[in-house]
């Protein structure tokens, strides 16, 4: 494609770096011998520098679709996964294991204590029932 009649048309694509390597090399061979293309490429590179300033544009449709596709599968209600994340982060930290163990033991003891204290009240009821039956 070197020096095809329409090679001058490629100044824009070259200045925007929108070429595969083979095309770029072919165009670079041409541009060193073509003052018009050399001038245009320099001019277009300046434009490209201006475009960098306006970079914060709304994403193209394809990009937006990809972004939305990434968003949709995420859970609508994050509460359960948040608790799960907290649980995992606690379990994952080995230095917290003794603390978790101590808290668990205290919880079991506290539960046992409550159960123990409430037993006489509960055991009174069956007696009451038995008393009613006899």
């Amino acid at each position: 494609m070197t020096d095809a009649p329409d090679i001058h048309n490629l100044t824009g694509a070259y200045a925007l770096d929108a070429m595969v390597a083979a095309d770029r090399y072919a165009f670079e061979d041409h541009v060193v011998r073509c003052p018009t293309c050399t001038y245009e490429v320099r001019e277009f590179r300046e434009v490209a520098a201006h475009l960098a300033v306006a970079v914060a544009r709304a994403p193209a449709a394809a990009v937006r679709e990809r972004m939305l596709a990434g968003i949709e599968p995420s859970p609508k209600c994050p509460r359960r996964s948040t608790w799960l994340a907290i649980f995992r982060s606690l379990v994952g930290r080995r230095e917290l294991w003794p603390l978790i163990g101590a808290v668990s033991v205290m919880a079991v003891l506290a539960f046992a204590g409550v159960a123990e204290r409430s037993r006489p009240q509960r055991s009174r009821n069956p007696i009451g029932h038995e008393g009613a039956r006899t």
Binding site: D6, N9, L10, T11, G12, A13, A15, L16, D17, A18, M19, V20, D23, E40, E43, F44, E46, V47, A48, H50, L51, V53, A54, V55, A56, R57, A60, A62, V63
Partner: protein, 78 residues
């Protein structure tokens, strides 16, 4: 309420951005899209031609025309 950023820097940058956007808005649809797809999305002109279902030669021409017009606008030529 605090003012973020250096106003001396920010305002010319915003004005410059507006100028570039206005210049882009004056291009034809194909001139603008071919340039934006190449520049912002990093596509080659062949990829742009596949995406827009246009001959590669047309994409080359539209890119070049668009850049000629942008250059004229940004240099203050009509």
């Amino acid at each position: 309420m605090t003012v973020r950023g250096d106003p001396v820097e920010t305002i010319p940058a915003a004005a410059q951005r507006d100028r570039v956007r206005r210049a882009l808005a004056e291009l034809t649809f194909l001139q603008r899209e071919t340039i934006l797809l190449a520049y912002y999305e990093g596509l080659t002109y062949q990829e742009v031609s596949q995406l827009l279902r246009l001959p590669a030669g047309t994409v080359e021409t539209r890119m070049r025309e668009g850049l000629v017009r942008l250059s004229a606008r940004l240099r203050g030529r009509p």
